[in-house]
Symmetry: D2
Subunit: 328 residues, 4 copies
Amino acid sequence: MSETIKKIGVLTSGGDAPGMNAGIRSVVRTCAFHNIECVGIVQGYQGMIRGEFIPMDARSVKGIINKGGTILKTARSKDFMTKEGRKVAYDQLKKEGVDALVVIGGDGSFTGAMVFSAEYDMPVMGIPGTIDNDIFGTTHTLGYDTALNTVVEVIDKIRDTASSHDRLFFVEVMGRDAGHIALNVGVAGGAEEVLIPEENLGLDRLLESLHRSKASGKSSSIVVVAEGDKIGKNVFELKDYVDEHMSEYEVRVSVLGHMQRGGSPSCFDRVLASRMGVKAVESLLEGKSNFMVGLLNDVMSLTPLEQAIKGQSKINLELLRVSDIMTT
Amino acid sequence: MSETIKKIGVLTSGGDAPGMNAGIRSVVRTCAFHNIECVGIVQGYQGMIRGEFIPMDARSVKGIINKGGTILKTARSKDFMTKEGRKVAYDQLKKEGVDALVVIGGDGSFTGAMVFSAEYDMPVMGIPGTIDNDIFGTTHTLGYDTALNTVVEVIDKIRDTASSHDRLFFVEVMGRDAGHIALNVGVAGGAEEVLIPEENLGLDRLLESLHRSKASGKSSSIVVVAEGDKIGKNVFELKDYVDEHMSEYEVRVSVLGHMQRGGSPSCFDRVLASRMGVKAVESLLEGKSNFMVGLLNDVMSLTPLEQAIKGQSKINLELLRVSDIMTT
Amino acid sequence: MSETIKKIGVLTSGGDAPGMNAGIRSVVRTCAFHNIECVGIVQGYQGMIRGEFIPMDARSVKGIINKGGTILKTARSKDFMTKEGRKVAYDQLKKEGVDALVVIGGDGSFTGAMVFSAEYDMPVMGIPGTIDNDIFGTTHTLGYDTALNTVVEVIDKIRDTASSHDRLFFVEVMGRDAGHIALNVGVAGGAEEVLIPEENLGLDRLLESLHRSKASGKSSSIVVVAEGDKIGKNVFELKDYVDEHMSEYEVRVSVLGHMQRGGSPSCFDRVLASRMGVKAVESLLEGKSNFMVGLLNDVMSLTPLEQAIKGQSKINLELLRVSDIMTT
Amino acid sequence: MSETIKKIGVLTSGGDAPGMNAGIRSVVRTCAFHNIECVGIVQGYQGMIRGEFIPMDARSVKGIINKGGTILKTARSKDFMTKEGRKVAYDQLKKEGVDALVVIGGDGSFTGAMVFSAEYDMPVMGIPGTIDNDIFGTTHTLGYDTALNTVVEVIDKIRDTASSHDRLFFVEVMGRDAGHIALNVGVAGGAEEVLIPEENLGLDRLLESLHRSKASGKSSSIVVVAEGDKIGKNVFELKDYVDEHMSEYEVRVSVLGHMQRGGSPSCFDRVLASRMGVKAVESLLEGKSNFMVGLLNDVMSLTPLEQAIKGQSKINLELLRVSDIMTT
């Protein structure tokens, strides 16, 4: 057990995700369990620079495990990208007596943590929090499971109206760089086609697929499109394209947007957050630094932050095939 | 009890709404209760013209009370707007032996019913089914209560991310001609401002309201905008306008779209549908025609279709005032 | 506008109900709107006696509109039933400078308010908050609509397993004195029979109904039972009775219990709470006292507390009939 | 690819679980994809004996992916436990032309499949479907993830009323032999204590834990109890025991019961079911038999049925420790 760590700072950074509050709670309670002090840092690195710290004990995180968003707030910090900004941040941490950091966020947040840790010898531990699940070193990021359920429930609703009117819907879901959400909700929502950044079907194959679907007797269809798909058209342009090339469908578009980030976390995300918070704090107390906590083979694991940032979370090819078979 | 009615046809028409299936079920079971035959007409007036009828008994509507959409499907019918189309429709009904109609839909569907009934002396009864609640003669249309809950749940999710990032969201909800959804979800979602077709606040008042909200210490805000608001800008233009005139907020837009039409109906909508179906069928059996069933003062009531179409459902001024007070 | 009221106290009392927080928020914000001070009284009359007051301004009720339960907590107070207890309570209110009270609760809470007001000339206004909807003078109590949706969602889940196994379920729902919940969720959940305090079908009719249901081809059934039903057997005894008299069904029991009190309030309950809070505060400011705010004919109304307590909320006979027809 | 398999039978057996329909759908569509015939067998082995088969093509499983329960129904079959019963079953399968079986169910169902397969050289493949997650050879059974979310949502509701009234709740959840549900929902629901079959804390430790919780300032508490806990008292007896030994709490009990089996499956369960169905059918086509499909290290895997039945799914000790830390 590290003698040197007496106070841990915890912050959330980057886009918010359900489960971040459960993660904060776990960090705070694990600190309390080990009789370590804990402070929350407001608005990520930006609040660190401003010196906005909130002392947190076990009771202060009561009733937040089921709340979406992050009580510590989150923000992007341009200042922290500068050497000067990080200097101020470090001084603030020293003034507050913070010995180590737990950073809940995504790639960008981890990069900041890594640079900072290298410059100031501050132990840091990352917890992957983003709905996109696009982080190497963990099969699941915090918020991903919740977002999947949120999106699937919306697709179920859209299916109701699609099949009542015999319509085709293009549903845009989050995922600028990764198609994990799109692929999973596509399978779970019974979508006829899924367009993801990792695979460019091309417009011809899309039309072909829609024709085949129509021919097989389906009167309504849902195509799930990841934000970052590579087909070269956004959902509205896709609608226009299909309108032009297929008269059989009445086409509609739905862009799900930010609602995907909110909501009470699923059981899975709450449990994952609780496990990750314990692992992050205890790893720091064991003298480790510069790792990201992750779930690998269902076990809490550590991946060097550098690898977590550089590595690529791959799409599940088996599931891609399942998706094709299901649209038979 | 009318001796002449032996078989009733039921159809859904116009935009689909949660509770339509519960309404169909109620019509079918009330017919069964009175030993009247019942047929479902597929895709509204369009299916009537095609003669697409499905015999329905009490068992055939099993397990649909909690399903969104409409098992009878719905469509707009240009053919039914022509004298020739209605002639074919009437012939199909006669061939099938249908003596009376229950039409579940909105204004347009009722207009069709009224014209048809006048031309062919076919008894008709309307059930108001639309999420917009913009029909005179009932305090609640089928689907309205469910849509309110759907939208409020989404706004709760958006609030999570809005307050984590200190953002301002413009959330567009359904309501081309009526602000009922926007006003109610605005109050229920704790929105800072509500823009509805019935009232044009003007852009100045909007900015003023956002400035006041910011000054009062709120760091995030939600503005609910009805599709048909009269401020002269759509949600994306509103975002641009605020971006230009207020640097204090990071602004985002969310257009909820068709998900608002789907989903399992709320308890209220299922009960309302069940009551309306009984009232519609029994009113036909009592020899009445050309009425819309409605809920007025919590009691099942009849309003002449002509009035239902011409009359205007008014926005609740008391609630508008409550909305203002709540944003204090 | 009453010159004498400068500070209003708000409390929740009796069983908690979803929407109470939205009601507190509305009272607080309406006070702020009228530049009146507001204090929250913790744990109802018990906290009043202890002098547990929390100053509340518009910001202090931020983020509670969608929370179940009551942030002011609730308790039953035996002390307040005594003259001495009420004397202490009054002294505490005077010390705090409270000029008037808004009491959110049920019959028992209103009785306390009425007695107190008579003894000490303290203006009081009641807001009906209970999931049972058993209060005269309003068509809807706070929490009732939410509870209906909660129960219907559970019945939908039970229906899934009931029909997979061809089972009969007795589902006990809340309602010691009133069958409103049972009757509505029975209709909305497609129950085969509903047992409520207002009507004693007798065991024979129950068996007959189950036999008829079986004969009509239904393989699974749900019977909704209000806690206070008058059939003379609890749900477990009902199970035994049916087990004994009908071999056709495998019978199971589900007692829903306290979950019915919790959860995020529905849109309807949030809007109702917002309206009632405004009406309660503004009625006090107009010099009125000893009324309960209610929703009658969709309009905010006042009913003398005495009537609210003595009057009886009647079961909807039309809906009882609809329930029978639906099980055809 | 096996030349001999031309028609596959699929059945659900044992307790129903959310995701079974998604599993049936996947089996059916994978058969269609490989141009194999598929028949659904009604009510598990019982229907097999009765010869109740339903031909299923890709369209026949439309719209079921999001439905709870099982459209094929399920039942326990005493007849199938006899040699005679299995003989009849085999003859029915031969008559129908069924070459191989996919059995969706739990331990008991797999035992039946194994015995049957040994007697009649019928290729069988198992898919683990049970909310209890008590099956060796897969980290997740179908329905488990959904049940976790269902229970956590209910605990959130109970928490609302518990904290409003400062009460202690004993919440009984499913799990006769395994504490997976209890442990996970305990962590996710922020429970103060979890009682599971795998660990007997003893009543003293329970009291001690409740005292400590009270001392730490918590005014309400939730204790999650698995059906099969080994403390020697059921939840009602636990209530009485605590009532007797602790005056600080007002104690209540909630038995969640069968609602835990129902509901629309989560995204995770729908995806898992889709993957398992593909794996099961394709494994049969590859000539394999007597395996259970499972998720191990996030990859589709096969475990011999015999091992799946004999092996024991172990409680996650790391999570047990997390649970303790969280209640700090």
